[in-house]
Symmetry: C2
Subunit: 540 residues, 2 copies
């Protein structure tokens, strides 16, 4: 029996024939193989993977494979519900990117051809995943991450564009930034082998030759990019001002402040790669642009804020302005959240905010302030109608959306790690449960889950591109992950599972640890981090 | 040491002096007594209840009192989380009304005087609580419910108005209906002793002499009430039509369909009381009005729908029309929900809808339909911006708001009890958890919690005023509640706690039960209901 099914996603017509199902009737289970290469390839895959197998034997094999994968992290302690949430999150953190390799060949939509090759990873929303999904996969399975990097290079070579939301059908015009820069810079900083020269070529094109506009893919420059390149900020419109740039997406608008912030960070990432490749001029150029985030910091309001084409500050309400999702100026969030999107220069941001105490106060405000517009409280439903993606609220902090991920860890940078521990345990307990209401926000292809995996393990990569993690507070009594040469890195935090959230003292391989950070190498060389946990905050 | 504190709620100035705290320092615990009667009374209460007690002894006493109260319902089986949710709900179900009696006297804001008397209950939002909180308290603690009924009569005698949202500071203009009628009719139907003559006097005034407008309290009649009394429906405005009745609350509008439906039900309740008191003319009058709900049923759309003052149907979108909260026509919900607000005549509603199958189909649609406006899907945030109170969604069904409470049980009336069981278990599992996100919607003074208590016990009072309960599906393997003369009523449902939700067979005291209902007497005379639970639906 043979079934032809309609392809559920869009491929060029010529490729529709490649999707077949070759079902085998076996106690009412239909099994089928799928190929993007050819009809015959599907038959070959069917023979290799399915023929002669019972449902039971396939089920057993799948279980073995996932057990091995999930066994990368071994935790001790914790209620059943916490274990279910954690391993579900770990499972989701590994579901992408997807390897479309088919035993020595693969089809690529980036040039619409079949290629030789043992792997081809695609399907990734980098805006979501550069923050911690790629860092998590790199930490737990560096070999696979190398194949992923090479797949990005393949997509670039085949299409001439380094993608920012690669899908099996080609790059999608989604979100902002060119965060492939972050993925490669992070891998470089953490010592992964890859073809950085090719990657840098694509990333440089992203930075210099392509439109920065939200939800626009591969278009050329407009006067807006020229303004960024020459004057250091992406210009915004005044409320009610008519848009004159045709390329601007009608719904997504300019998101001018977020675009400035995220490009400035990506420029910093590009500078790291340029330095690695000995391109001193490029390095200097991108390092200069890495400071452009300062151009949208308004010292009067102490918020990141929009500027018009003349460089004038546009008056706005930091909680509320910018229309649906704040998209005139921001990306799905307000500036309470976005002011913190300076991953690569937290010290610089702290200085502008006014030092340790000022930064701590601002973080406290973020986690506690309700929404007020013109001095009046706004109901939650009004808030969600404006910021539909800013779910999982704690004050203005939105656990359910990616720009918030790193923020609780910023307390470590103003000498208040216990406040990071306080917030993080609350966030994990409240917004990540095994109840039917599940986790907050969008899963976003593994992004949300990988935030939880890192946070439950007790550390987090605040700035991809730096080989460093900020300490949080583990959810389990013990966590073990693989380290180099078959060794293990173990975090011991007795009592954490029962709710002890405050680190009283930390010892790394027996030595007292005096900073709330770990380097990548401290983890990957193996060893033990002992955390003495307590009920009350303590300076350490 | 003496402290004077500002009174947190509004009382007449002359009463502010009565609030004192007489604190006693005892290992950093301040204790204080509170009186609405006088400064000296607070001192007396302090001596009686607090003086000489340690924090520990007070804590122990409070625990004993609550243990006794919560021990009224004993359940077996169920995870720790389910037990926590259940007993928390039971606790909340008993937090109101509050007895303001002070050892033989009490202060009443209903005439601003101090009275002799051993109890005085107030603080109740009847729109929320008539549905199942009062029935639950009546079932579990009939003596206290009698005192509550007498307190309603006291408030009526003191103020000349039977209140509908009695607060310690007086009746509040909140919501719609005169549901004290339901509370008294329910008590009468279930055999409670009370001064029904006095109550009926107040309830009759509510029905005949007072404005039916939402959030209006104690005002006289307008042409809108005349339309209801003479023509059988509360008239609505066309979209954009200017309001000309000054008394209409600016935000709350007319809610004309809901007002018609709920008054029609309250009229039926008044008829029961009139019959009990031998007032035949009144009985006939109110029974006629008990049918007025039919006047807002539009046979073309098969929805409850608004009519203008000429009796013409106003065109409207059943999901969406009526502005914020649907308040031009409805109360916080759309007509998908409100069409079911015919508690006293489900058979009549079923006939108008087209019989068993039509009713079942309509219920299915309620639980499954997403929101579409002009043929386009509406995002959840848009929906919540319109219907902020319609939370806990399952399709259009809103678990988080009271008008939905009885609806799942209506499957019993169209011969599909298994669908009630299916929905109810899902609703309990999804929307009532012990996680930090807690339960859905507003607690509303015990209303939401008492829905859960009834549903977790496996039955529910669909129509207060009738001594009958519809069966649902118990959450526990065994439930025991007090019955008359010290006996107990026990529900046995082995496997329910582990998730078996479908009743395969029911036996009441050994006899096969063939209808999915229990009478009040069947419960209060004591005995055992044995439910054989299963994984799959079965007709019985």
């Amino acid at each position: 029996m043979r079934l032809h099914l309609d392809c559920p996603f869009e491929l060029s017509q010529s490729r529709k024939d490649c999707l077949i199902l070759s079902p085998q009737r076996s106690s009412f289970v239909l099994s089928g193989a799928l190929s993007f290469v050819s009809f015959n390839k599907a038959g070959e895959i069917f023979q290799k993977e399915l023929a002669g197998n019972s449902f039971q034997s396939l089920w057993t094999r799948a279980k073995e494979i996932w057990n091995r994968q999930l066994g990368l992290v071994r935790v001790t302690g914790g209620r059943e519900g916490q274990l279910r949430t954690f391993y579900t999150a770990l499972y989701r953190s590994f579901q992408r990117m997807v390897n479309y390799g088919e035993y020595g060949e693969y089809f690529s939509a980036y040039d619409n051809r079949v290629h030789k090759g043992s792997f081809f990873y695609t399907n990734d929303h980098i805006w979501d995943t550069f923050r911690c999904m790629h860092p998590l996969q790199l930490l737990l399975e560096p070999g696979r991450q190398q194949d992923i990097l090479e797949s990005y290079n393949l997509m670039y070579r085949q299409s001439g564009l380094m993608p920012s939301c690669p899908n099996v059908g080609g790059d999608l015009p989604v979100m902002i930034g060119f965060h492939a820069a972050a993925v490669f810079a992070d891998a470089y900083a953490k010592g992964l082998q890859a073809d950085y020269a090719t990657a840098y070529e694509g990333i440089r094109k992203n930075a210099m030759e392509q439109s920065m506009l939200p939800w626009v893919c591969g278009a050329g420059l407009t006067e807006l990019e020229t303004c960024y390149q020459e004057r250091g900020f992406f210009p915004a419109l005044h409320p009610g001002q008519k848009e004159w740039i045709d390329l601007v997406h009608q719904r997504e608008r300019r998101q001018s402040v977020s675009v400035t912030l995220e490009h400035s960070y990506d420029d910093w990432c590009a500078a790291q790669l340029a330095a690695a490749l000995g391109k001193k001029e490029d390095q200097a150029l991108f390092l200069r642009r890495a400071d452009y985030w300062k151009n949208v910091y308004n010292p009067d309001t102490r918020f990141m804020a929009p500027r018009d084409q003349n460089g004038e500050w546009i008056p706005f309400d930091p909680m509320w302005s910018g229309g649906k999702g704040g998209r005139d100026y921001f990306t799905e969030n307000n500036t309470y959240v976005y002011t913190w999107s300076v991953f690569h220069d937290v010290e610089g941001l702290k200085n502008l905010l006014g030092g340790d105490q000022a930064m701590e106060d601002r973080l406290d405000r973020l986690f506690t302030e309700g929404v007020r517009v013109n001095g009046r409280n706004v109901h939650k439903y009004g808030y969600f109608n404006q910021y539909a993606d800013a779910t999982g609220l704690m004050g203005q902090f939105a656990m359910g959306n990616e720009p918030s991920f790193h923020i609780p860890y910023l307390y470590n940078y103003c000498k208040k790690p216990w406040k990071a521990q306080k917030r993080l345990r609350d966030l994990m307990d409240i917004w990540f449960s095994d109840s039917p209401t599940g986790i907050c926000g969008d899963e976003d292809g593994g992004a949300m889950s990988s935030f939880f995996v890192f946070s439950a393990m007790g550390f987090y990569p605040v700035c991809p591109g730096k080989p460093e993690y900020a300490l949080g507070t583990p959810l389990f009594d013990q966590i073990e992950i693989p380290a180099s040469g078959g060794s293990r890195f173990t975090i011991k935090a007795p009592g954490a599972a029962e709710g002890l959230r405050y680190i009283q003292e930390a010892r790394l391989n027996g030595e007292k640890l005096t900073r709330p950070f770990l380097s990548h190498q401290e983890i990957t060389r193996g060893g033990t981090l002992e955390l003495q946990m307590g009920k009350r905050p303590r300076d350490w």
